[in-house]
Symmetry: C2
Subunit: 222 residues, 2 copies
């Protein structure tokens, strides 16, 4: 019986990882569609986003049924709970990536601010690196890497503040950039939110590994 | 044994509701501090936000220990799971309210756009009404009200789009409003996110009541 359970758990872990990798691609696609003004990628993504939501629900259902039918204890219990909770964060990251793509469709041919787009690309690179790190830490039950996500987030937040200032300066110089600025403000916030969800996933890595449950980040510092 | 469990569950439900009411106050305080330029409330809030995070962790810990020690089944299982998941949404709503207060501190004495502040107040009223409705639906296991949250969210989203346009027009007319516009974009997004979390809570009300697990809202439509 326990072997079947462990086998199911292994499959669930694989699906969780696959969802993570899919979502990581979406972050790249979302920003790329925006920076390259590529509406085609943006529209593709809006379709793929539904796939993420569907798969997340399937994983959650599977986790809930394992929990209800097998009543796992100790480590097994924690593994199922961590998937149940961290899947929501992955799904949200997917939604955020999708919202970046939505801005591509919105901004059309309006004047843009080059510096801001550079920092957006940087932030995208940073959150994608963090996501792969946290997924790897999840598999390897690597608490140390999980804890390091906080300083990763602080870098993203520093870039967020820098970007905000660049946008304000850009619009003050050229009020025609106001339409693009709306999208910029949304996108830098979305990237910062993605980073925040990665820290949440890190919290669940620590819970899974050690049984400790706490917030890695005091939200006042976000 | 089961009576003790039910008693614990009742207490947990009460704490969940209390957290909901606290968070609802924070939404009001956050927007009020911003619209009235009241830095004192804003600073108070940033302290209270930590309380929300602490209480959410306590509720989650309690739910996890009930789950692990009592291994509830059927309805009891669903009640514990719904608290475990919906508490995260309440906590996030609290964080979002706090982020609104942070904008109060940021915007300082810069020129503002009156129409935008009116619509922000409207949106705040709407999400607070929705939050009370969903909390009540949670207690009463009222699936119909829970489902109605989707149309509530659609109204909030319509206001979000309207506000976005008003901000862009305002900055185009007066580039000195660029600093305030950064805060406006953040705040309307936060209010829309709060509404989104309320729809998530509604999904957990439905799960708790009927055992059905699905996304109330297709994220492509958000």
């Amino acid at each position: 019986m326990h072997e079947i359970f462990l086998d199911e758990l292994k499959k669930l872990n694989t699906r969780f990882m696959e969802l993570g990798v899919l979502v990581n691609d979406l972050i790249d696609k979302g920003t790329r569609s925006f920076v390259d003004h590529d509406k085609k990628i943006a529209q593709e993504m809006i379709a793929e986003d539904k796939e993420v939501a569907k798969e997340a629900i399937k994983i959650e259902k599977k986790a809930l049924s394992l929990m209800a039918l097998q009543q796992p204890v100790a480590t097994d219990f924690r593994v199922v709970i961590s998937i149940l909770k961290a899947t929501t964060d992955l799904e949200r990251i997917g939604e955020n990536a999708n919202s970046i793509a939505v801005e591509t469709v919105r901004v059309k041919g309006n004047p843009r601010i080059a510096d801001v787009e550079t920092i957006i690309s940087q932030m995208t690179h940073q959150v994608r690196t963090m996501l792969i790190q946290v997924l790897t830490a999840y598999v390897q039950e690597d608490e140390q890497t999980a804890r390091a996500m906080v300083s990763g987030h602080q870098e993203v937040y520093a870039d967020y503040k820098k970007a905000r200032k660049l946008i304000i300066d850009g619009v003050e110089k050229d009020p025609n950039a106001a339409v693009a600025s709306a999208s910029y403000f949304v996108i830098i916030r979305l990237l910062e939110r993605i980073s925040d969800h990665i820290v949440n996933i890190a919290s669940w890595v620590i819970y899974k590994t050690s049984g400790e449950l706490f917030e890695l980040m005091e939200s006042g510092k976000k």
